[in-house]
Symmetry: C2
Subunit: 296 residues, 2 copies
Amino acid sequence: MTSFAAWARAAQERTEAALARCLPAAAIAPQRLHEAMRYAALGGGKRVRPMLAYAAGEAVEAPAGRVEAAACAVELIHVYSLTHDDLPAMDDDDLRRGKPTCHVQYDEATALLVGDALQGLAFEVLAEPGLHPDPAVQLEMLHLLARAAGSRGMCGGQAVDLAATGRRLELAELEFMHIHKTGALIRASVLLGALAAGALAPEARERLEHYAKCVGLAFQVMDDVLDAEASTATLGKTAGKDAAQGKATYLTLMPAREARAYAQELVEDALGAATGFGERGGRLADIARFIVQRSY
Amino acid sequence: MTSFAAWARAAQERTEAALARCLPAAAIAPQRLHEAMRYAALGGGKRVRPMLAYAAGEAVEAPAGRVEAAACAVELIHVYSLTHDDLPAMDDDDLRRGKPTCHVQYDEATALLVGDALQGLAFEVLAEPGLHPDPAVQLEMLHLLARAAGSRGMCGGQAVDLAATGRRLELAELEFMHIHKTGALIRASVLLGALAAGALAPEARERLEHYAKCVGLAFQVMDDVLDAEASTATLGKTAGKDAAQGKATYLTLMPAREARAYAQELVEDALGAATGFGERGGRLADIARFIVQRSY
């Protein structure tokens, strides 16, 4: 069995190649928009969501080709949300994945359209006729992704985040925000990867839901820890922004050591769920472990 | 047979009611986002795209309930694009449908999220499990809408529009822009309304494609004429903006009288296509006629 590092690199490369194929070529009109879409989506990123889709696909033996479409779709939603999040009207950030953000490199109107078009492309990729042998399952995948992206998912979490800036949240409120802002798309990544195999048995689905919930929160806890502790160079995005913007984070509620312990606890819980898939759940377990060990 | 005015009013009311049902209630968290989504989508609008979906549905005897989902989906895409278009980074407009635009009424970040969430909701509505008895046709509807909304459709047209500001376009370039910016979604409205009945016979599809192309261009020509000639009060949005912003319009290429004649010609062509459906194509014909007669 290859190491997790090698597996992760392969998953990242595969995601990069699949995105490069599904994004319109920069030579196709309107060229500037297509170039900017490729700028935003290609050449970097941890690709955590595609990795989760691949790992969940492996857990239920889904054909890799179909998982790839799911991986692209969730990553396109993620990249669109980053592009819009970085805009002056939102987080107003200049740096993303070690490069100037899309509106800095191009302009605000283009970055707005890039995000809009990437969201559309995510659904286009997943609605590809014949992608899945069972069109009803493919529809379920689309419905799940749309719901995860919308106001009762990711966009809703961002709205809560906006409203929370400068205000102290209780742990329950903070988790409500994260379950929406990042949790919904992480859940979709896991479930879509698995649905690529076909309809899910209730207990497999339950295990995946539990895994995704724990991993999603652990990821966010560690994001807050790293934002406070790591350097901008290591992160590839502006460090220390949360505190500077008065954002509610886990570190406003607990010391960093306690936050790390909380993340560790969530990861143990996720590992328990991954075990249910036997050896095939190995990559899900690897990703969970990686989340508390990463430094960027 | 009821008059077109009565039919159109009924279609508008039906669209309003269907949108009110599919939009999350303003009492659901995050409340401010849901309130703003309802503000942007409800209480106005010509509802031309839903009308086209209903009329195309009637032409092929599609069940009205299923057409309703298609009508909602296309209108949600339209409303999201208006909300983003009105942002300061794009057209920077204060007035829409006679009300303050979403970012004026709320704030820029909320208006950005409103547009993002409305786009997601459009796909959620159309991906509803069990909406269509043939899930493969439902997938085709989703694919068509996603393609129409994205960079090779509406978003692409907006990018061309941005690039064209302050530059004189030839007729061919101007039409390329409109075929993407408004034509793609008008085409999707017509085809989705018809696909609600089931897979389309090649000749019915061809007639609908031709109808949509002519109606889409005629609509845009008349939009340019009305922007130049009508008042802000009649339009419910800021009049004369195109000229003020140095935008390429049909009126920079031809006198208003000639533009009206061109629209009339396109409408005649659309009427020819509608005739192919016999009496059932009556509402498609009515809408085409309405486009050259409207004053707002």
